[in-house]
């Protein structure tokens, strides 16, 4: 009998469990171990690597280890934020998978005592030319909108990339940003022997039994159907009540500590609470409010029913807590208490059905060393979609129409981006979303980035670029980074090449965050993202929160006829790993190395220019290169451009094509008053005037190459995704 294998534990892990317990675990205990010792909960293959991330800084209020990270925003307030993945559940059931992903990350932020004020989403799919992909996109986008919209949390930004390696294994990462009074924030540590453990929120049903280990840690395969009954259902209405209830409980000072129930349900929440507090804990499953009678103890302990929270409460305050839950029409019950035993005891109507030392359960799982090996060659598919004869104009239109570059209006117009009355720049309006924070008389900017294709070319350089791009996006709205969160989406770490990608990527993240002085305060790891058809692109998704002081000087303005245009920064454009190279089917390993410091200097210069109000039009050069960035600004503003990239070519002696479509970190396009732009020069950062805003043509010359397209054509190409993405199987709204 090898129940432990069925549950995803290795024989060695099982033996270790028996050794620690001095006996074989019974059913309940084994189920609990199998979840907390899963990759998802124990970070078996990533924890050692994560130790190297910079996590300290003067503004850090809470770092890794808490439900979410938090940074000080002044005036006694903090911004809490975290990004989390819900990849496998979304591949199985896109609508509910994405919806519950949003619900889960919201609860992590709520558990800190914060009120969520914004969501961002980072999505990866296969090319939209298959019905399955369109079906996934439709479900995921509706699911994210459904949950966030119903909760009254604005979804203000995000990104969507379409690449073949994600075809069978889409990525759904959601980032939540919340605000809290720093002195009212709670940690998830149980304390006070004799204090009561209160479970409140939705009733506990058979949702996602084993979901954490089955859905979140195993490679997807044909056996999918068998997993399907473990789909989790989200109820944003319940969570909306839960949010207000938590806010009121904390404002009344009724809680000792608070924890959300996520993956591994009660087992993980109660276990982590006891572990963090160095206490023991008793949970009586007979006291848990159930949606279905006759649930077994192990089912109750591992159920992933959504919209539930766990609190530690002093006995004298229990009645008030239960009363507030009743006011908010949410179920609640005392289901156990904090002990000094150091044990996690499971009882059923007072009778013990399982006992595990908290330490063994939460910290006992072995952490593995990886044995990394650099892949010898490019292992990902290449597809040629652009004909060789295509001239620069055709190439630009083809880039603007590329699903990963084209406008994502179709998606973000399905998200409420204005509820909360904080939104200064919503999705599509500027390089980063900007939210007003009157509580501390300033604003914050949030961005999320991660180009898996470039990380696949070079995990170290690619991850540095993703991090720098976040900071660059923030700079374009005048914001300075305060903290970073991240979600590491990778394949099977037991494979040497994946292990190498993971290690190099985390090294790149550390290097970039150190250089930027932006500590990593939280994140999430999603491994085993591969299917029989191969691994995904290694995809670290970086989320960044920054601050600015005058919303009115936060960029995002359209450029005006007559504005001068400058290219700013050390960008050395190269086609390696670029969108154009992808369309030519010529992707391969390697990216040109680029020093971080000069990029940081350019970021600082741009931030200053925007903050001062001197420059209102700034964007960073990213997918599709300089020509694409210019075209996007022209489209956004409704006025054309006439530019010559000779200065870029002279500086880096690159080809005209490199200058037009090459990619790399450290490039910005700024537009505005000519003198203002000239004043930016002579500060150690390259600033080159390349042209002016003019007419209804996009006209960009680069040595022998030149782009000349009508603004209207460019607009049409850029808007072409909307029509291509509509699914043939639109989900019915319930």
């Amino acid at each position: 009998m090898s129940a432990h294998r069925e549950l995803g534990l290795t024989d060695a892990e099982y033996e270790l469990i028996c050794e620690k317990m001095g006996r074989e675990p019974n059913g309940v205990e084994l189920a609990m171990f199998s979840l907390l010792w899963s990759e998802h909960c124990a970070y078996k293959h990533s924890r050692k690597l994560l130790k190297n991330l910079p996590t300290e800084g003067p503004r850090v209020v809470m770092g890794p280890g808490e439900n979410a990270g938090a940074v000080d925003i002044g005036n006694g307030f903090s911004i809490a934020f975290k990004v989390e993945s819900h990849n496998h559940p979304s591949a199985v059931e896109p609508f509910q998978g994405a919806a519950t992903g949003v619900g889960g990350i919201l609860r992590d932020v709520i558990a800190l005592g914060a009120r969520p004020i914004a969501m961002l989403d980072s999505l990866r799919f296969g090319e939209p030319d298959t019905e399955r992909t369109r079906y996934l996109v439709d479900g995921v986008v509706r699911g994210i909108g459904h949950y966030g919209n119903s909760m009254g949390i604005p979804t203000v930004g995000g990104e969507i990339y379409f690449e073949p390696p994600y075809e069978q294994n889409p990525l759904v990462n959601a980032m939540c940003v919340g605000i809290a009074r720093t002195d009212e924030m709670v940690r998830a540590a149980a304390a006070g022997t004799g204090n009561k453990v209160v479970l409140f929120g939705s009733l506990t049903g058979r949702d996602g039994i084993g979901g954490a280990s089955v859905l979140a840690s195993a490679e997807l395969d044909e056996a999918d159907d068998a997993k399907r009954p473990t789909v989790q259902i989200g109820d944003p209405f319940e969570e909306a009540k839960l949010l207000e209830c938590c806010q009121e409980l904390l404002a009344e000072g009724l809680l000792v500590s608070l924890q959300d129930l996520g993956a591994a349900g009660l087992t993980s929440s109660a276990g982590e609470m006891a572990s963090a507090g160095g206490t023991g804990i008793d949970i009586d499953v007979g006291l848990v409010p159930l949606r279905e009678a006759d649930m077994e103890p192990f089912e109750i302990m591992v159920s992933e029913s959504q919209e539930r929270m766990l609190a530690v409460v002093e006995p004298s305050k229990v009645d008030q807590v239960l009363a507030l839950c009743t006011k908010w029409q949410t179920a609640s019950a005392v289901i156990g208490e904090v002990t000094d035993s150091g044990d996690f005891r499971i009882l059923k109507h007072g009778e013990t059905v399982g006992v595990i030392a908290v330490e063994d359960l939460v910290d006992g799982c072995p952490l593995y060393d990886l044995d990394p090996a650099e892949p010898g060659e490019w292992v990902y598919p290449n597809r040629k979609t652009l004909r060789d004869e295509a001239d620069a104009s055709e190439a630009l239109l083809s880039l603007l129409a590329a699903p990963s570059i084209a406008s994502k209006k179709w998606a973000y117009e399905q998200y409420d981006s204005v509820v909360g009355s904080r939104t200064v720049h919503r999705a599509g309006a500027a390089d980063a979303a900007v939210l007003n924070v009157p509580e501390s008389d300033r604003a914050i900017a949030v961005a999320i980035d991660g180009n898996g294709r470039r990380v696949a070319c070079d995990p170290y350089q690619g991850t540095i670029e993703a991090t720098l791009e976040c900071a660059a996006n923030l700079a374009c709205v005048g914001a300075e980074p305060l903290g970073v969160t991240n979600c590491l989406n990778f394949g099977n770490p037991e494979k040497p090449t994946v292990a190498w990608q993971l290690g190099r990527s985390i090294e790149g993240l550390s290097a970039a965050c150190r250089a930027l002085g932006a500590p990593v305060v939280g994140g999430n790891v999603s491994l085993y993202n591969e299917t029989p058809s191969g691994p995904i692109y290694p995809t670290p998704v970086v989320g960044m929160v920054g601050e600015l002081f005058e919303p009115e000087s936060s960029g995002g303005a359209p450029w005006q006829d007559g504005d001068a245009i400058a290219i700013v920064g050390p960008l050395n454009p190269s086609l390696a790993g670029s969108e154009l190279e992808k369309q030519r089917g010529g992707l391969g390993q390697g990216l040109p190395a680029a020093a971080i410091e000069p990029v940081k200097d350019a970021i600082d210069l741009v931030r200053g220019a925007v903050r001062s109000g001197e420059i209102a039009v700034a964007t960073d050069v990213s997918d599709g290169g300089i020509a694409t960035a210019l075209a996007e600004l022209a489209i956004r503003s409704g006025v054309g451009v006439k530019a010559d990239l000779a200065p870029v070519i002279a500086q880096h002696d690159c080809s005209g094509e490199d200058a037009l479509f090459g990619e790399g970190p450290g490039g910005f396009i700024l537009a505005g008053d000519r003198q203002a732009l000239e004043r930016l020069g002579g500060q150690g950062v390259q600033v080159e005037l390349i042209g002016a805003v003019d007419g209804d043509l996009i006209e960009v010359t680069a040595a022998d190459q030149s782009v000349k397209v009508l603004l209207g054509e460019a607009k049409a190409a850029h808007a072409s995704l909307d029509a291509r993405i509509e699914s043939d199987q639109p989900g019915l709204t319930h």
Partner: protein, 230 residues
């Protein structure tokens, strides 16, 4: 000074936004607006009511179907019958229609999807205190955001609404986002003291959002009291 009550149901989303808009309209002191819990029945001391947007009771069954039975809504019905100004926004509009305080109903958008975008409304001919600061034909820019915003009324009712000049707002030509009949975005009751609209004026009262066109609607009743054109 006009004192506002903003209803709060389980699942309301925009109640704080509405509260904020009322406070700004009242000069920003904050004293002139408070939340009204859905179980409250005593509206004394309140001069105006906002039934805010959101997803009361999750919009389950039908948007507004459950919320309209709340004790507070009974009190609002009396308040409205006595001529008190009542503003329903989005879900609040749906609640007011469900409870019969406003004519018509709101159906799932023609495109079935939730949509959120900035758009333009044209002020109608309705005679309502909420329109005291706006001219018929004037255009205002405020956010459209809803999934069930398609205004519907049977032909004879629709004729009545038009004949009595009960149309407060229409979507600007070409901007109807949901298939509403006659581009109707907002209507009043016959007396004009109750106004419901799908778009969100409460999200357009501060300059940083890009438009302050929504403020006039919240300032209207005070203006009307002060004898402004109404």
């Amino acid at each position: 000074m006009m004192v506002w009550g903003v209803l709060q149901f389980p699942g309301s989303c925009d109640e704080r936004d509405a509260l904020n808009a009322c406070q700004i309209a009242g000069g920003g002191s904050g004293e002139n607006a408070r939340l009204v819990w859905h179980e409250e029945t005593d509206l004394s001391g309140l001069d105006g009511i906002v039934v805010p947007g959101g997803f009361s009771y999750g919009d389950y069954l039908r948007a507004g179907a459950i919320a309209r039975f709340s004790p507070a809504m009974n009190a609002v019905a009396e308040f409205a019958a006595a001529g008190g100004p009542v503003l329903g926004i989005c879900n609040g509009f749906q609640v007011l229609c469900e409870s019969g305080l406003l004519p018509g109903a709101l159906l799932t958008n023609e495109g079935t999807r939730f949509i959120c975008r900035q758009g333009e409304l044209v002020v109608g001919d309705a005679d309502s205190p909420f329109l005291a600061g706006l001219e018929p034909g004037q255009r205002i820019s405020i956010p459209f955001k809803h999934q069930s915003g398609r205004f519907f009324a049977p032909p004879e009712l629709l004729e009545q609404i038009e004949a009595n000049d009960q149309v407060a707002f229409r979507y600007a030509p070409g901007q109807n986002p949901n298939g509403s009949l006659n581009d109707i975005a907002g209507v009043t009751n016959e007396a004009g003291n109750v106004l419901g609209l799908m778009p969100h004026p409460e999200h357009a009262v501060e300059a940083f959002t890009g438009s302050t066109d929504g403020l006039a609607i919240f300032e209207g009743p005070a203006r009307a009291l002060a004898g402004g054109a109404a």
